[in-house]
Amino acid sequence: MPSLLTKSRNILGMNARNLKYIRPYNLKPAKRLADDKMRSKRVLRKGGISVPKLISKIRSRGELDDFDFSSLPNSFALKPNYGFGGEGIMIVYGRKKNVSNTWIKADRSVVTEDDLKTHVRNILDGSFSRMNIPDFAFFEERIQLLKLFKPYTFKGIPDIRVIVFNKIPVMAMLRLPTEASGGTSNVHNGGIAVGIDMATGVTTSAVQYNRVIEYVPKKRLLLSGIKIPFWQDILKLAVKAQDVSGLGYLGADIAIDRERGPVFMEINARPGLAIQNANQDGLLGRLKRVEGLKVKTITRAVAIAQSLFGGEIEEGIEEISGKKIISAVEKIKFIDRNKKEFEIEAKIDTGAYSTSIDTELAKRIGFEKTIDDFDQIDLSEYEFVPGSGERIEADFMEKYGKKIKKLENIVVVFSSSGSSLRPIVKTAFIMDKERVVSKVNIVDRGDLKYPMIIGRKDLKRFLIEVSK
């Protein structure tokens, strides 16, 4: 399988990551900084990067005994300082009314002061730290879920992981907490990893447990095509964080707060490899392309990243060709006779010249009278034989053209299922935000899947992506 081997040369494996990237580019002091969350947040803040606000910290059992839990705000996140993989994080969303020092979690379960104390004690004992070393606990401001992410998220907060190497962002993914991951965005525990097009910040493909998925589990909600807001800012933050942290091979974790916008969550000295599956592309190939590049400014670094590792998304093509990209089946908007907007699915048919719509659909958009009038006419006087089309059309229009309301023209269609005379009307519809005014023919498509097929005549401003 030589093709498989050449392709896998672009994939970054554990051995190469450790030996070629982490060892030489992430030196010990920087690694230690990354593992110490409170200190790294302090350093980031000094570097002008916005991080969640620290509320308070508990460094020992003595401090825990003296800690005044009533001083805590209504919502906060309790975290272990040396935690990793999102373990040991407890998030509360609000205080329970009329009960002192009791909070509520996302799943509506109640957290008492005693629960918090037990959790802090577990943190202090190192239950969630690397190598189980004794740890600190700290409380920080809770990030508020962005409305855009709400339907995609189970409990927790999604974050965006950006791999930065040599000051250039090379790959990014959106991590979505799921039921399986228990609300953490840890992709090893069942969180969803969604690849992001570097140029546009639009999500591409997604994986869960290293398997490709298209939809949010149990929902018909596409994971691709989500446009991440503040994309440029997120990339800039990631580059800046590399500068500040001294990690040459950095995994930057950035969340988006509903009010504050992008907030830096963590720097990671050993970013995982699952991001490759999410993007369906290897990291090694990308890392090699930016190695040795000398970049002077953050804006330049972001621009390089966007032009080198983006553009797989159609928007790029759309910009170049000036044409919209549509799929083989496209949603079409019409205005019905009561001036209300509605949507149907149409099949894009490059085998057809003009567009056809179903009789029922035509009635719905205000051609009921046209169809009724048309049906009144006795067509038995016409004999449909090949070549007779034009003559019949002309004859028909002369005789009945004026009598039928809103009729534009008539067309004789010879097809394998028999020949027919179809009325043509002029209508407008919206496809992929483009308004199309077209003369469409009306035919009974009642037993066909799509009430509309769109022919070549109306596709001049579009490109068709069949895999979409």
């Binding site: 051995n15 490899l273 599956n277 592309d281 290897g282």
Partner: protein
């Protein structure tokens, strides 16, 4: 037929089995390193599978049968992990601190192991009943590794890593019990120094692990022509 060095060691009162096992250790750890770096089987680091291998060896030596060593060792290992998993699930509800939790686990695991040994005796499997304390202790200490993995990475990972540990340990066990290899090492003990060279090569190995070809198969499957360059 023994090498001079081995004979010298034996003449100084070091038991032949000790000399042989010590010489086998570099081979065992090299096999484990190979499995990690090239095959991609993680197991619980290098120390645990090596210890488990030696527990198997000790059981096999006592039972005087290579197959029985694997058989009894396997039984004890699976018991320890199965009981560990069950107790872990139950203890999770009590929200105990780490060390007391591990202590309870080890207690229950040792009692279960003892019960299993007695059951072995009742079923006339005297070999199983008479397994000595050293290999049993090793197996029981596995529990700590298991619990910490369970807490940090979840029960699924803990079971996967245990299975990997078992597989690697069995492979190592059968390799170093292989009479041809044993005789070879006893004749040419200096050969073990070659493992250092092998490990230098492994330590510089940056290729994809075998497991990673599977992990990233989606990428190679869908890789677009534009990435081919």
């Amino acid at each position: 037929m023994y090498d001079g060095f081995v004979e010298f060691a034996v003449s100084q009162g070091v038991p032949l089995s000790t000399v042989t096992l010590t010489l086998m250790l570099p081979i065992v750890v090299t096999i484990i390193a190979f499995f990690r770096q090239v095959v991609g089987i993680k197991a619980f680091g290098i120390y645990t599978p090596a210890l488990v291998t030696f527990a198997f060896l000790a059981i096999g030596l006592e039972a005087d049968s290579i197959l029985k060593g694997a058989q009894y060792g396997f039984t004890i290992f699976v018991t320890v992990i199965a009981v560990g998993t069950l107790v872990g699930i139950v203890l999770k509800k009590f929200r105990l601190l780490y060390l007391p939790r591990v202590a309870i686990m080890i207690t229950i695991v040792s009692l279960s192991t003892l019960a299993m040994l007695i059951a072995g005796g009742l079923l006339q499997r005297t070999g199983l009943a008479s397994v000595s304390i050293f290999p049993i202790l090793i197996m029981i200490t596995l529990v700590e590794k298991f619990v910490s993995t369970q807490i940090e990475k979840g029960a699924r990972t803990a079971v996967v890593l245990s299975t990997e540990t078992l597989i690697i340990s069995l492979i190592c066990y059968f390799s170093v019990s292989w009479s041809v290899l044993v005789a070879f090492i006893q004749t040419y003990p200096w050969i073990v120094l070659f493992t250092i060279i092998i490990n230098i090569v492994l330590g510089k190995w940056t290729g994809l692990r075998l497991s990673e070809y599977f992990r990233f198969k989606e990428i190679t499957k869908y890789a677009e022509p534009s990435h081919k360059k």
